[in-house]
């Protein structure tokens, strides 16, 4: 008979960590900490959405703001899709701007297609989405640690 995934220590920690990254709070939910999971889910998702609302999806910028993007990706793998969409729009706008420049026209109209965002809205959006990601990283590490403690505690008992 195959080993239960909860009995395989490394696999158990990986599953808890992956779940916590996939959906904020899911790691704690697997550990039967439902209230903690709900608090984490609401707080992280709300902060991330407020950041997106304030700065637009342009704040998820894997081309020009890589360090911020690294923190934002900690929210969920779904951020990869958003980042890919924004990067594609940026590259398409750049290509169009290059074509326009060959005809002696300005690049402003073409670059409007990219989700470019500047100023205070960009700052606040980036800070909110990145802090949400870093808070989720804290929760991922905490979920893995609690899972490990329980496993070790269970093994000693």
């Amino acid at each position: 008979m195959g080993q239960s995934w909860k009995e395989n220590h490394a696999l158990y920690l990986i599953v808890v960590g992956a779940a916590a990254w996939l959906v904020p709070g899911a790691g704690h939910y697997l550990l039967d900490e439902k209230r903690r999971a709900a608090v984490i889910l609401v707080a992280v998702v709300l902060t991330f959405l407020v950041g997106l609302y304030v700065g637009s999806i342009g704040v998820i910028d894997p081309v020009n703001a890589k360090p911020w993007y690294a923190a934002q990706v900690m929210n969920s793998p779904a951020v990869f899709f958003l980042g890919g969409h924004v990067a594609n729009a940026y590259h398409a706008a750049q290509d169009e701007a290059g074509r326009q420049a060959r005809f002696g026209r300005g690049a402003g109209q073409a670059m409007r297609q990219a989700y470019l965002v500047f100023g205070r809205a960009s700052e606040i959006g980036q800070i909110y989405t990145s802090v949400a990601g870093l808070l989720n990283l804290l929760c991922i590490v905490n979920a893995i640690y609690v899972a490990h403690q329980r496993f070790v505690g269970g093994a000693h008992a």
Partner: protein
């Protein structure tokens, strides 16, 4: 319904207009609240409404006080460097 969803999604493709007035610093308050809530959610043994709210409020208050103290110190340094030092270093003052 589709129109509502489309317009809702569209709001996430256009940034808000936020000027650089001192009032824009108030945006730090919700962020500090979130940090306090998530940090305490990982620290407390059991989540019960009253003790959790109390601990979160204490952390929120201490972060805000620390930020205010840091801001005052930085403001003081900026005031000395930009307002007082040039006058003291001016050779015509001697």
């Amino acid at each position: 319904m589709t129109t509502f969803l489309t317009s809702l999604l569209a709001t996430f493709t256009t940034p808000m207009r936020i000027d650089t007035a001192p009032a824009s610093m108030l945006w730090l308050l919700p962020l500090v609240a979130t940090i306090s809530v998530v940090y305490k959610a990982t620290k407390v043994n059991r989540i019960a409404l009253r003790p959790f709210a109390k601990e979160t409020a204490a952390l929120f208050g201490s972060i805000i006080v620390f930020i205010a103290v840091a801001a005052l110190i930085l403001y003081g340094i900026a005031w000395v460097v930009t307002g007082q030092l040039p006058g003291l270093l001016d050779p015509s003052a001697f």
